[in-house]
């Protein structure tokens, strides 16, 4: 086999998630561990040895983001421009509609572990396979959550062989597409927050300088300066902003 079967792989991932399994999927910003049920996400949490202050991100297509996030026009324009015009991967945390069919289905314990201060973080535009998985999940109204395929605090993984064995062991399906596009940043995806009505950076990550350039030129917004990986390896600017969640 020399060609990828993106549609077929997305279907396998989707089937795994829908049946309560765990998938390792290749996003442009690194490999991610994803689950579609409370039990699956809890198993990921335990295997990663995550702190309770961390939140899961949700996978979303732009169609879902537009419905789910409650943003003013200017903020939504920023998200649209970054993902649609400039084709950049970005995580966006913002207030959400609690009555949205996708959220209404989520186990309350999973809501608690995936939201903070009334916001939910969505990973957007993370590559062709990601888009196809998001499309299938949207059609089936299947909410899917997850985070980097790593033991917490060890940095994102850009190759399947770099993912810790104990994490590979809990995955029911692993899609290996080789080295990920944004490996040279050596950080996860950049995450922006719109919780206060103003955009701010929660985590400096891949494409951060490109995201800063777009927001500066088109919206006259200046994001925090990147102190560099030597000073802030994870890129987190507000690491402990959320309270501990026990998953019990």
């Amino acid at each position: 086999m020399t060609r990828l079967d993106i549609k077929g792989d997305a279907r396998r991932i989707f089937d795994t998630l829908r049946s309560g399994g765990i998938a390792i999927i290749p996003n442009d910003a690194g490999y991610a561990l994803m689950g579609g049920t409370y039990d699956a996400v809890h198993r990921i949490f335990l295997a990663k040895k995550r702190g309770g202050h961390k939140r899961n991100a949700m996978l979303a297509s732009m169609a879902t983001q537009r419905e789910l996030h409650v943003l003013d026009q200017r903020s939504q324009d920023m998200v649209e421009m970054l993902t649609q015009d400039y084709n950049l991967t970005v995580g966006v945390a913002a207030p959400y509609r609690k009555d949205h069919p996708l959220m209404a289905k989520v186990d309350p314990r999973l809501i608690e572990a995936s939201t903070g201060h009334g916001t939910v973080g969505l990973l957007l535009n993370a590559g062709p396979l990601f888009e196809e998985v998001c499309r299938l999940c949207r059609e089936a109204e299947l909410p899917v959550f997850g985070s980097s395929a790593n033991v917490t605090g060890t940095g994102p993984k850009f190759r399947v062989e770099d993912i810790q064995p104990e994490l590979r062991a809990i995955a029911d399906v692993i899609i290996d597409y080789g080295l990920r596009k944004y490996h040279h940043y050596q950080r996860s995806a950049t995450t922006l927050s719109f919780a206060t009505g103003e955009v701010e950076c929660l985590r400096i990550g891949s494409c951060y300088e490109l995201i800063c350039d777009v927001l500066q030129r088109h919206f006259n917004v200046t994001l925090a300066k990147d102190p560099g990986r030597e000073v802030n390896a994870s890129g987190h600017l507000q690491e402990f902003a959320f309270k501990e969640v026990s998953y019990s």
Partner: protein
């Protein structure tokens, strides 16, 4: 609504190129100067102070590349995998169909400046603007040829501010989309001759391209000696010196 009008910008660019003008366009691999006939290409060439061993590259999408180049089935699969599956930008050098309508339009003189030893180079998949302009080029049969918006040998430019004033001065339109995606590589797009499977220039995404070709096609590309050792990435810079 605050957004960029990629379709509108590509339309304006195409109209200027069609009328014999010069455009500076925002590829993911850096800003490029392009035109569609010998006159603008000669002006670009003279302003850049290029050596005669350098060739113009073509900008196109995969649909045009499939029609215009004649690669072996295996080589074509490599190109399809890099572009369609892994979404990487790549410059594909290979033999071509001289009778293709886009090359017929370019004319004999333009072809001499844009081909060498029976091959032509095509930059594929260089971002949303490149995609839209390539579509117009195909549909309206207007060839797109050009090269980096720089003085020869001085490295690609990833911001309009960094393009030398004399290059900006010859452009009839400049599309400024800010900092270009692959600026981190500090080199232009990777160029591979898919007839011989030899790397001509190590550039953007080279480690990703090498990874795909090694893993899915069993092809080992040469290691990158690194930017400090080889800033331009050219492995055979003067291979075409003296070639007509």
């Amino acid at each position: 609504m605050n957004s960029i009008d990629i379709a509108g910008d590509a339309r304006r660019t195409m109209d200027i190129i069609k009328a014999g003008g010069i455009a500076i366009v925002p590829n993911d691999t850096g800003y490029a100067c392009c035109g569609s006939s010998m006159d603008p290409l000669q002006r670009i060439y003279d302003t850049k102070q290029r050596g005669s061993h350098k060739r113009n590259a073509m900008g196109a999408d995969l649909e045009t590349q499939r029609e215009l180049q004649r690669l072996s089935p295996r080589a074509q699969q490599m190109v399809e995998a890099l572009v369609a599956d892994h979404d990487l930008p790549v410059g594909v050098i290979g033999s071509f169909r001289a009778g293709h309508p886009l090359l017929q339009k370019l004319g004999d003189e333009g072809m001499r400046a844009s081909s060498a030893v029976g091959t032509i180079g095509i930059l594929l998949n260089a971002g949303p603007f490149h995609k839209e302009l390539s579509r117009l080029s195909r549909e309206e049969v207007v060839p797109l040829f050009g090269s980096s918006a720089n003085l020869t040998g001085t490295g690609p430019r990833f911001s309009v501010d960094d393009i030398p004033p004399e290059i900006k001065a010859i452009a009839d339109i400049t599309i400024d989309y800010g900092l270009r995606r692959y600026h981190t590589y500090r080199r232009a797009g990777t160029l591979i001759n898919f007839d011989t499977l030899q790397v001509v220039r190590i550039g953007a995404c080279y480690e990703l391209i090498s990874g795909v070709l090694r893993r899915w096609f069993g092809l080992e590309l040469p290691p990158d000696p690194g930017f400090e050792q080889l800033p331009s990435g050219h492995l055979n810079e003067f291979g075409l010196k003296g070639v007509e």
